[in-house]
């Protein structure tokens, strides 16, 4: 049984390994590998404070576990899950064992295992007994994170079927992502703590997390303390078994009870009034009803808001409220990123839009407007409230300008990306009982985040100029600039999206029907050439997304934000590398970071252009080949 499931998993991986996917796996794998190696290197360090190394390793293990729990919110369900085998008379225990084994066959698992070998490194520095303990501890730890991930996934899946459950899962997921992505604050904190070690309370808390129990055992083995060696290890094993049993239970057929959302009554069904006056109104009403009724959309609304609020609250640990005014911007940015699969979420329902004569444009605009209705007032309110709480109005023009630009830019870009980079998933009626079973939108979300951030830049640039020249009117001019850029994005990218929908509609439908991109040859000769995004090879994609990731990291969190902090005259260093440098070095480091960021974007553009040229040449030569036999 176990062997069969592992073979099935390998077959699935083989059949879904397209160029784009491989590039993502490679990119993610490399990033993970770097983290894992850093984790191992950490275990070789010596610290002044004796408990420091233990605490640090405990932090890293907790972060890995957190990543495993939050991951499925973006990556969707694993390729093999319990639902696929409900109708087979396989005992649930055997099935759970088989699925667990097949879960071990994955790049993520391998990388995590590598990271956890830092436990063995630590043990090797102690004594042989510790190593003997460390090996099973490592394996139990790996089992712990994998099982946690699966159990959390199933629980969330059950919860997310209702709108209320959607709110809960979105908030918890947002908290996990916020913690995981701002974990560097912990490291800066640690830098400050290097001399004193962790506060005892925090240290206790960290050590009591199940992800640290293996560490406790190894440490105790190093001391020769028999009870503390066996105790935590046994507890970890018991926890693994309990999780396994819980998982086995949850694997059973899902209970059919699901909060069913009801539609409107016969009298209120038809679009009337403003909604009936134009195609846009009719489609807008449809879209707003979907936003209101679909639990997945509820999640898409709550997740960005919760993430931004939690992220703004985190720096309160160092008494920094400077993020408060930017909560609205962050929500708009994240909202654009999480909602960018609008057409993909609707699945093959696209056929109806295609069969309606000439309504693509209205459909696109309706979706943009609906997104703006959901996120516009909410984020503007957040900006206002955040500015009020922060207390001083100094940051308001920056926040307001960025918010407007992010709203307009987001509304334009998200609809464009949703047709350019559509991620196919199961049709909504097929996944109504497992709403987390969607396509893997991680890449799409990152791309959206980056693009929308770029749309915000001009407004921030004007604000910066106003600040540097000390001209208040110029500073405030950033607000209309943000509005203008936003409006332009909204209109222009909306038009592009509508055009692509009209020209490539059947191709998109095909993509959703078959779940994967068709070879280029499927397009008719008259169809516009495919974009380079679709045709570039694994290596180019890897290079492109890789340089994008570096660019984003260097330009935004380590370049522009510290620039802003420094300009605002604040002496808070928060967690920006540049601000920890000796004073004369701060400006050069910021400039360097910005340069690195810009260079990476340049590299990304260069790769894209090269790939695009190649695609065009290929298309031309294909056309020539096609024409030859017909003329002969």
């Amino acid at each position: 049984m176990v062997g069969v499931l592992i073979r099935m998993k390998l077959a699935v991986l083989r059949n879904t390994a397209t160029g784009g996917k491989m590039a993502w796996v490679a990119l993610g794998g490399t990033a993970g590998l770097c983290l894992a190696i850093a984790n191992i290197v950490l275990a070789f360090f010596d610290f002044a404070h004796p408990r420091m190394l233990m605490d640090l390793l405990a932090v890293t293990f907790a972060l890995w576990a957190l990543g495993w729990m939050a991951g499925p919110a973006f990556a969707g369900e694993p390729p093999l899950n319990g639902q696929h085998f409900h109708r087979q008379p396989i005992p649930r225990g055997t099935l759970a064992l088989g699925l667990l084994a097949s879960a071990m066959v994955a790049v993520t698992t391998a990388v995590t295992l590598l990271a956890f070998t830092s436990l063995i490194v630590l043990a090797a520095r102690l004594n042989l007994g510790a190593v003997v303990v460390a090996v099973p501890a490592t394996i139990l730890l790996l089992l712990l994170v994998v099982l946690l991930s699966r159990v959390v996934m199933l629980l969330f899946g059950a919860l997310a079927r209702s709108r209320f459950g959607g709110v809960v899962t979105a908030t918890v997921t947002a908290a996990m992502i916020a913690l995981a992505s701002f974990s560097w604050i912990v490291f800066i904190g640690i830098y400050l703590l290097l001399d004193h070690g962790f506060p005892p309370g925090l240290s206790m808390l960290l050590r009591s997390l199940p992800s640290s129990w293996g560490l406790l055992s190894v440490e105790a083995a190093g001391r020769g303390d028999r009870w503390w060696t066996v105790g935590p290890l046994a507890a970890l094993a018991v926890l693994d078994v309990v999780l396994f049993l819980v998982w086995r239970r949850l694997l059973g057929p899902r209970r059919p009870a699901r909060a069913v959302v009801r539609g409107s009554s016969a009298q209120r069904a038809a679009p009337r009034g403003w909604a009936a006056r134009s195609d846009l109104g009719v489609l807008y009403l449809k879209e707003m009803r979907t936003w209101w009724r679909d639990p997945l959309r509820t999640q898409n609304i709550v997740l960005p808001a919760a993430f931004s609020v939690i992220t703004a609250l985190l720096p309160l640990m160092v008494d920094f409220t400077g993020f408060f005014p930017f909560v609205g911007v962050a929500t708009a940015l994240m909202g654009a990123a999480t909602c960018a699969n609008l057409y993909g979420q609707d699945g093959t329902a696209l056929w109806m839009t295609l069969m309606l004569p000439g309504k693509e444009k209205a459909d696109v605009r309706a979706r943009q407007l609906a997104w703006l209705t959901v996120f516009g007032p909410m984020t503007l309110l957040m900006t206002a409230a955040g500015s009020a709480l922060h207390g001083d109005l100094f940051l308001l023009p920056w926040a307001l300008a960025a918010n407007l630009a992010a709203l307009g830019g987001g509304a334009g870009l998200l609809i464009w990306i949703s047709v350019m980079d559509l991620v196919p998933g199961p049709d909504p009626h097929k996944s109504k009982n497992s709403p987390l079973d969607h396509g893997d939108v991680t890449g799409q979300s990152f791309l959206m985040l980056l693009l929308t951030a770029v749309a915000v830049l001009p407004a921030l640039g004007v604000a910066l100029a106003g600040h540097l020249l000390d001209r208040s009117p110029l500073l405030w001019a950033s607000v209309p600039v943000g509005l203008l850029v936003g409006a332009a994005c909204h209109v222009w990218f909306g038009d592009l999206a509508a055009r692509r929908l009209r020209e490539k509609g059947p191709g998109l439908l095909q993509l959703m029907r078959s779940g994967k991109r068709q070879a280029v040859a499927d397009a008719p000769p008259t169809a516009p050439a495919p974009s380079a995004f679709e045709t570039m090879g694994v290596k180019s994609r890897f290079l492109m997304w890789g340089s994008m990731a570096v660019g984003v990291l260097a330009l935004f969190p380590q370049g522009l934000v510290p620039l802003g902090v420094k300009l605002s005259g604040s002496t808070d260093r928060v967690w920006f590398l540049a601000l920890y440098m000796p004073d004369p070095w701060q400006w050069p480091v910021i400039a360097g970071m910005i340069l690195i960021g810009l260079a990476s974007f340049g590299g990304m553009t260069a790769v894209y252009l090269a790939a695009s040229r190649k695609t065009k040449e290929n298309a031309a030569s294909r056309k020539a080949k096609k024409e030859k036999p017909s003329t002969a």
Binding site: V261, G263, A270, M352, P357, H429, D522
Partner: protein
């Protein structure tokens, strides 16, 4: 002029040829039945013919209007029920039909009237009134799909397996509707696996096998005195299986 003409439609998926230069002609005012074994390419050929899938080669025209060159005019003439595709799922049947009606250019009152009639005929009102399409059963999904195809009063209906999963009473109603539609001058193209149903409804049949149209013509000509089922088995060129092998099943 033919109501619907497909000329040389061709589609390959990788190495596999799903539809191999298929030609079909639906005469105006006729009821056309397309039959063929699973995987013969019926769904693919119909999707290409209505403009939901790119053909590698070939053309399709509705009452002389090319589906690919003048899509807007062609779509107004057609009512389509594809097989197994999603719909705007978070709407009730009435919300869906009234919006679609208005998008097709009907005024609000007319759209509401037609939606009401269609829902009543398909028995999707009453207790199912406030159920969202996402929660519909398989048969209910077929029926709401059919209602959307009929809504704008097309001249040609292209229906992929319209009777699949539909209960006998609703099926009888739908048959009645389709017969009236043809009697009123409309044309219908359906695909189906139920030979008796095709014999009962259709005046013209086409048989597809392995992507090719192997026979096409008036019903009586194609079946030539035998039952359509026997002719079908002959044309498709397969033995009826199931009498050999599987010995473990009966022991």
């Amino acid at each position: 002029m033919a109501a619907f003409r497909l000329v040389g439609l061709h589609k390959r998926f990788g190495e596999h040829t799903a539809v191999d230069h298929a030609d079909l002609t639906v005469a105006a005012g006729s009821f056309y039945g397309l039959v063929g074994p699973n995987g013969a390419g019926k769904t693919t050929v119909l999707s290409m013919a209505v403009g939901l899938q790119w053909p590698d080669e070939g053309r399709a025209s509705v009452h002389g209007v090319d589906v690919w060159k003048e899509p807007l005019r062609a779509r107004r003439l057609m009512g389509v029920l594809p097989d197994g595709l999603a719909m705007p799922e978070r709407l009730t049947g009435r919300e869906l039909l009234t919006s679609l009606g208005q998008l097709h250019g009907l005024d609000a009152a007319e759209a509401a009237r037609r939606a009401g009639e269609l829902l009543a005929v398909m028995e999707l009102d009453g207790s199912a009134e406030r159920t969202l399409v996402v929660d519909y059963s398989t048969g209910m999904r077929k029926k709401i799909g059919l209602a959307t195809a009929l809504l704008h009063g097309p001249k040609l209906l292209v229906l992929d397996e319209p009777f699949e999963a539909v209960d006998p009473v609703s099926a009888a109603t739908i048959k009645q509707i389709l017969k009236r539609f043809v009697a009123g001058g409309g044309s219908v193209l359906i695909s189906s696996h139920v030979m008796a149903l095709v014999e009962q409804l259709c005046d013209t049949v086409g048989v597809m096998a392995k992507g090719r149209v192997v026979a096409e013509g008036p019903l009586d000509e194609v079946r030539g005195g035998r039952s359509l089922e026997e002719t079908f088995v002959d044309l498709v060129g397969v033995e009826i299986g199931g009498s050999e092998g599987l010995s473990w099943l009966v022991s």
